[in-house]
Symmetry: C2
Subunit: 243 residues, 2 copies
Amino acid sequence: MPAKIHQATIPTQVKDPGLVERRRRQIADAAVQLFIRNGFHKTTTRQIARAADISIGSLYEYFHCKEDILYLVCEQIHSEMEKGVAQAMNHASGGKEALAEVIREYFLVCHRMSDFILMIYQQTQSLPSQWQRRVLENELRITGLLVGVLARLASSGELPRLNERTIEILAHNIVVLGHMWTFRRWFLAKHYRIEDYIRLQTAAILRMCTAGPEEFPAPIDPPAAGGGSDADSPSEGGPREVS
Amino acid sequence: MPAKIHQATIPTQVKDPGLVERRRRQIADAAVQLFIRNGFHKTTTRQIARAADISIGSLYEYFHCKEDILYLVCEQIHSEMEKGVAQAMNHASGGKEALAEVIREYFLVCHRMSDFILMIYQQTQSLPSQWQRRVLENELRITGLLVGVLARLASSGELPRLNERTIEILAHNIVVLGHMWTFRRWFLAKHYRIEDYIRLQTAAILRMCTAGPEEFPAPIDPPAAGGGSDADSPSEGGPREVS
DNA sequence: ATTATCTATAGATCTATAGATAATGC
DNA sequence: ATTATCTATAGATCTATAGATAATGC
């Protein structure tokens, strides 16, 4: 529960932890709707308080500043996303269609969370940079789940042998093509139903992951990046620091 | 020159059109840097005026309001993008490698315009909705260039026969995977050089567009939508309006 | 005279807190 | 007595404009 863990890190004047969690959720639930509709900056703390049905004074007992609210909102969204994606991976019943099913379930999560995902794209930049980093880590963790799926399928032979960097990029691609439904929705939803979108994208992604073996030349990469292994874990040959 | 066309639509008190264009560019150039660094809402009109080296009073002779500045900035970015993408398509020397070259050139444009593209993703929502729509149209126009490329290659036999909806989705995918370099740069640039990224993504995209023929089942779609071919072209069974 | 630019500020917010009040538990 | 909540507002902005000044062209 990353959201819970973080709860502790936002300071509060209120002693009762259960109350703190309840009120914070109440506030966050009200805030996220306003952020989605009007954006973070055009939403005032008073509006949030009113929508959450508490006074502005009380609000500030539970959050130190407006940005704290946005951060908790982001944490809750990512927590929900991660739950959904993890479930998607269980639903997938293995076998030849495993990847197709994972994609389908993942895209349905994106569809369901559409407004929230879009909000994260738009508002993350309004967070203090320290929290921006945490939100991005969440994003990466979710991508990691997809990396896991692809790696498993590749090693079990249900996908061609893919080198690690290819797997990583493909996972990012799948994640982002799911997000695309949220941030190009103004166009896509006019012309496609979600089921159409999933069908077309599943076909495209499967091709992207499963073309004939000659399409995946032996790993050209590992130029063994000479020693330094930092927290950033260049766990393979390839990764390279760029300022 | 969409930017120029629009120039006319932003009202101004100043008579000399040449001066208007010069000053507006001067202001927009200063503003975009601030928007990239601090976001639209955290940037004040005074900061913009100072950075553009004019007084706050003068600034408001050239723009009716702060949002106008953001809009002009967006127009200029998209105009530059479109120019770059159009060039990318000329560079591509036809033949078997044509698509790979287009992708490469397009991705290099994304790399060069990285900060600007990201800014559009983050700040479009701050525009009045009428101008939001125009920015999204620009986005669609650029995607349309890619649709054109794919359609040409598919009909000339350099790509398999793809039905229209598949082409459309593939074009969106290419556009968005270029953008991905900008909005996941915080991760990607730590582990990949742009050349690595282009190489991996080109391979993935080519697979996505060119898998064996059995991967593109005969157009399930064309239930011959009774002649009518509109701009929105629900040319097949599927598309459907969603509020 | 007309056009462009500047300074100074009105007017309208908005965040965050101080200090008063109500509710709870001993 | 302690904890939670509220009202009222200090203090700090920020956008956009009014009215004064400088520059330009006839």
